[in-house]
């Protein structure tokens, strides 16, 4: 790890010094123990802040998108001849690069507006899971030692296998190395063992009776407080005005009606067809712990099954809803 951080910092510093990037988005150590938070660096010296470890949760593509959009927006007020291009660097693990691929395919920015600093990934720690493991105790201190988390809480010190605390999506991740990158930091990470079972949970759910599935959906959606944190964290959610906030027509009621919440979630989820990279950002930020992954993963599975496509898996694998094949499955068609 030390080694990776070092290489990362060197690379970041060089990029900034050589003006290959105007700013770099990465992670720094968080204020709480066993956390990391996104950071923005414009000064080569600040590269020292950068870290890359199992606590780097958020998908930074979201930030890259925001930065570029903001910059572009600001340039609209500048005379065309004076407009400036800015290049952003980003520390990107596999799922982040998938989002970047998606952004590129969806023309959110050009390839030359970003420099991707690829990092290998073995998964990140799920704070909610960790909290459960430590029975909800406050974590006062914590370190990662090899594949063990050493956690100090009011109840004492506890050693936890890292594997047990990893986020669900990481445990079955098939894309734990960057899809595309300009610089790769370190060696590629080994394949994740659980990747073969990535749809096991979805398959189990599919086999439940209809009423149980509906009950689960209703239960999960009932937790939702419509804080929209999921949307804010999601790199694929970049609509300027989310449909929830649109009027004429108003698509979804804003009140506390349960069906409105269900429809909101349903439609937001459906916007992820062929676009969810399973980075887990939405889940990690959800204050209510809604099991969004259960549903997102289903969309992922169907897109793979129906269209042989996976969001952001390569530049050539275009978003499935922008094209069709003559021999797409038609088994959903009703024939009386």
């Amino acid at each position: 790890m030390e080694n990776i951080d070092k290489k990362l910092r060197e690379e970041a510093k060089r990029l900034l010094e050589e003006k290959r990037v105007d700013a770099l988005v990465g992670y720094e150590t968080g204020t709480l123990p066993l956390t990391a938070t996104p950071c923005f660096i414009t000064n080569p010296e600040d590269a020292e802040k950068l870290v890359w470890n199992a606590f780097c949760t958020q998908n930074l593509a979201k930030y890259v998108h925001d930065l570029i959009s903001q910059h572009r927006e600001s340039q609209k007020r500048v005379k065309p001849e004076d407009r400036k291009k800015k290049v952003f660097g980003v520390v990107a693990r596999g799922c982040t690069t998938r989002s970047i691929v998606l952004h590129l395919q969806e023309r959110q920015y050009a390839r030359d507006e970003i420099v991707i600093v690829g990092v290998p990934c073995t998964g990140y720690v799920d704070r909610k899971q960790l909290s459960i493991i430590v029975s909800g105790e406050d974590i006062q201190e914590g370190t990662l030692e090899g594949d063990q988390l050493v956690v100090k809480t009011t109840a004492g010190e506890k050693r936890i296998p890292l594997q047990d605390a990893l986020s669900g999506n990481c445990l079955t991740c098939k894309f734990n190395n960057p899809i595309i990158c300009d610089v790769m930091i370190g060696e590629k990470a080994p394949a994740i063992a659980g990747a073969a079972q990535e749809y096991a949970e979805v398959e189990d759910f599919e086999n439940l009776p209809t009423e149980e599935r509906w009950a689960y959906f209703t239960k999960e959606m009932a937790k939702c407080i419509r804080c929209y944190a999921c949307r804010q964290a999601c790199p694929s959610c970049y609509c300027k005005t989310c449909f929830v906030e649109q009027s004429q027509p108003q698509w979804v009621g804003l009140g506390e009606d349960t069906t409105d919440t269900q429809v909101f979630q349903l439609m937001r989820l459906f916007h992820m067809v062929g676009r969810c990279v399973d980075c887990g950002s939405c889940i990690s930020v959800c204050p209510m712990g809604v099991d969004l992954r259960k549903f997102l993963k289903k969309l992922d599975k169907d897109v793979l099954d129906l269209f042989e496509s996976r969001a952001g898996s390569s530049m050539e694998d275009l978003p499935p809803l922008s094209r069709f094949k003559e021999h797409d499955k038609e088994d959903f068609v009703f024939n009386p």
């Binding site: 959906f217 069906t259 269209f307 809803l321």
Partner: protein, 60 residues
């Protein structure tokens, strides 16, 4: 593209527990008057078997 959208939608609605037979997709060409009537009969029969909708329905 529409076909792809509805293929996914149908599976997804079914997945979250809305009875699949409530949302039906099909193709009927301009020369298929008989088929249209049969589709309506078929859809009505399927939905009738499910009973009145209650899921996702907004109560006023």
């Amino acid at each position: 593209m529409a076909r792809r959208k509805f293929a996914t939608l149908k599976r997804f609605l079914d997945y979250i527990g809305l009875e699949g037979d409530r949302t039906i997709f099909t193709w009927i060409s301009a020369s298929e008057g008989e088929r249209f009537a049969n589709v309506i009969k078929g859809v009505t029969a399927k939905v009738r078997a499910l009973g009145p909708a209650s899921k996702l329905v907004k109560k006023l």
